[in-house]
């Protein structure tokens, strides 16, 4: 019961860092303005929701699962937040309602997957539709805005020239890394990913672990909805559309095996950075959001394909 061999993932992380440097060099060659620190910092805010949800997604994929419902959970949380705000609830309660909605949505996924042992793919595909549908039904497509000044200041504010939300993200990231590296829970996650049956018989509480991870993914999506509201002063039913694709692509590109058992948070964050930079570069340079979609989808498939080609002997 040991985490994945460190050496392997280190090599891959260096490779990703190199890829990132090449990408930035290419970007600089195409348009020096793009890599200017000011532009990068201005764009870095967009990375927060992606990175936030990538933390639990990495752990879920490491345990051999998947969560397709994160984008819809974010939308549902966003709409509940907007409805609570419209109903005149005190603002801290408005934020709590969003977080709670996300957590409960994740918990429901977890109960179906861990307690009833239904395949995560079909559960989260169903809730991908159900949560988005609830968000649309509850809001009737109406956007909410007019959030208080102090809240929006958190979304646009920065400290030491780094956005406050990025600091918050780093804090959560550090916390997750500590839990994974320094506690038994970290060992359990990798053990469950290697073989759920073997882990179960070794005394790993696999069901509770999976329940907790899917709940956490819901909570992260709820928090992402709050972040989104703070940045754009809107809450509506179409936020987080396609989030699941970007997050899963980032995690898989970051070296997490789609078959479970292997992957690191550092790799996932590098994956997030690369996906983010490519997306920004494509939309900055060619100004076509459709092209970003095509590129992201291709990276997802290619990342797994290349990974399979190089690890052929292990299968």
């Amino acid at each position: 019961m040991r985490p994945a061999p460190r050496t392997n993932s280190r090599v891959y992380e260096c490779l990703l860092a190199a890829l990132m440097s090449i990408l930035l060099a290419l970007a600089w060659w195409l348009d020096p303005d793009f890599v200017a620190p000011a532009t990068q910092l201005a764009l870095s805010n967009h990375i927060v929701e992606l990175a936030l949800v990538a933390i639990p997604m990495t752990l879920i994929i490491v345990t051999g699962g998947i969560d397709l419902s994160v984008g819809s959970t974010m939308a549902l949380s966003s709409v509940v937040m907007g409805l609570a705000f419209d109903a005149g609830a005190p603002f801290p309660l408005v934020c709590i309602s969003a977080l709670l909605t996300g957590t409960l949505a994740g918990l429901l996924n977890g109960l179906f997957i861990a307690r009833l042992s239904i395949h995560p793919l079909i559960v989260t595909l169903a809730t991908l539709a159900a949560y988005r549908g609830l968000a649309e039904g509850l809001s009737k497509g109406r956007p909410f805005s007019g959030f208080p000044e102090g809240f929006l200041a958190i979304g646009s504010g920065d400290w030491l020239q780094v956005p406050i939300l990025v600091w918050l993200l780093l804090l959560l990231l550090l916390l997750s890394a500590l839990i994974i590296r320094r506690t038994t829970i970290g060992l359990w996650i990798y053990a469950a990913g290697g073989s759920q049956t073997a882990a179960h018989y070794s005394g790993v509480p696999v069901a509770q672990l999976r329940l907790a991870l899917y709940t956490l993914a819901g909570a992260a999506a709820g928090l992402a909805a709050i972040f989104f509201a703070a940045r754009f002063n809107t809450a509506k039913a179409d936020v987080g559309a396609g989030l699941e694709l970007s997050v899963i692509t980032a995690v898989v590109l970051g070296g997490t095996s789609i078959f479970g058992g292997r992957g690191t948070l550092l790799g996932a964050m590098l994956g997030v950075a690369i996906i983010h930079e490519i997306g920004q570069l494509v939309s900055w340079k060619w100004d076509q959001q459709e092209l970003v979609q095509v590129v992201t989808g291709s990276i997802l498939v290619l990342a797994v394909l290349v990974h399979n080609i190089f690890s052929r002997r292990t299968h």
Binding site: I66, L68, F112, L116, S117, I118, H119, L121, I122, V123, L125, A126, T127, L128, A129, A130, Y131, R132, G133, L134, E136, G137, K140, G141, A207, G242, E244, L245, I248, V252, I258, F259, Q288, E290, L291, V292, Q293, V294, T296, G297, S298, L300, V301, V304, L305, N308, H315
Partner: protein, 338 residues
């Protein structure tokens, strides 16, 4: 998963069992369907009128056609979430090929191109899954975005409005008094039913989905079987595009958004197991009609326009209810595998 005497039996080709939809599930869906018709007809009698039933069937026919292919694919143990985007892309392709201001090709060429492109893109998904060993959810999630993006790039924000009358006939024509799309659905249902029940590749599909390794040992051509399932699904999506999209006079880039979900809902509610190895066309057909009736029924019971907003929530709830009922019925046998 496969333990006990059953695992041994599966090694023998002769012992591969064809696990079609359980009778109980078929009766359950039929009962639900009867209940919905009875309930809504009391509130508004027009619901059960022949004209409305025909409308329901016409609206749901593209789902039925593609769901036949999806049933075969899900029985083989794979899944494809890109069919909605594929439908959109084939619609754009069909429009660009047939429109007099674009390629202006004859109808036969348009039909051939649409079907061939559908089959080829389905095969491409299959090659990535079978030879590239990329899990089907990853491959088709990628394909879903790539194909949708490609459609939008191809259409470049414009609409195709000058569809020739010959193509429109596929959407609006009624040979022998029955709309073309219903003929197509009937043919798709009969052929896929025969494929699964009476051909060797059909039997292989159940074997591959039931236990891939055992099927391989039993010399079932597992690669070919799965590639065939992906290709058939692409081909049927092409057929659905041909008979459903010309029903409207305009082709835009948003066609088929969320379509994959209706299709997968029909298959899962119809009793096919997402783990592969079991399921059948009749269950899927009944489930698709059930979903179509619920969709129309919501509009009848005064939900009016807001019915559109709740549709996805209802589809999701249907899938969850279906898998939940599966769990509750296999409670005793599946306990120890949890």
């Amino acid at each position: 998963m496969a333990t006990g005497p059953d695992a041994h039996a599966r090694l023998l080709p002769a012992a591969i069992t064809l696990r079609a939809t359980p009778r109980g599930r078929l009766w359950l869906i039929a009962a639900l369907l009867a209940l919905i018709f009875a309930g809504i007809s009391i509130a508004s009698p027009a619901f059960a009128s022949p004209a409305n039933i025909r409308d329901i069937l016409v609206n749901i026919s593209p789902v039925i056609i593609v769901a036949c292919g999806m049933t075969i694919l899900i029985i083989s143990g794979e899944i494809d979430v890109s069919v909605g985007s594929l439908l959109g892309l084939l619609g754009a392709l069909m429009g660009l090929c047939s429109s007099p201001t674009h390629a202006n090709l004859p109808l036969a060429a348009v039909i051939a191109i649409t079907l061939a492109a559908g089959a080829a893109l389905g095969l491409l998904n299959g090659l990535l899954v079978v030879l590239g060993r990329v899990p089907s959810i990853i491959t088709t999630l990628g394909a879903m975005t790539i194909l949708r993006g490609a459609t939008e790039l191809l259409m470049a924000g414009s609409w195709i409005t000058d569809l020739p009358a010959s193509l429109r006939y596929l959407g609006t024509g009624t040979p022998l008094g029955i709309p073309v799309c219903l003929w197509a659905a009937l043919i798709a249902v009969i052929l896929s039913l025969l494929f699964l029940r009476a051909t060797r590749p059909g039997l292989w599909t159940y074997a591959v989905g039931g236990n891939l390794h055992a099927a391989h040992l039993a010399r079932v051509p597992t690669h070919t079987t799965r590639l065939l399932a992906f290709t058939l699904l692409g081909l049927l999506t092409g057929l659905a595009a041909l008979v459903s999209i010309p029903q409207q006079s305009v082709i835009e880039s948003g066609i088929g958004v969320g379509f994959e979900l209706s299709v997968i809902t029909a298959v899962v509610v119809g009793g096919a197991s997402i783990r592969g190895g079991s399921g059948g066309i009749l269950g899927t057909l009944l489930a698709a009609i059930l979903l179509g009736s619920v969709r129309t029924g919501l509009i009848f019971i005064n939900l009016g326009d807001s019915a559109v907003y709740w549709e996805r929530a209802i589809q999701g709830a249907f899938i969850l209810a279906a898998v939940l009922s599966d769990v509750l019925t296999r409670q005793d046998s599946a306990r120890q595998t949890a």
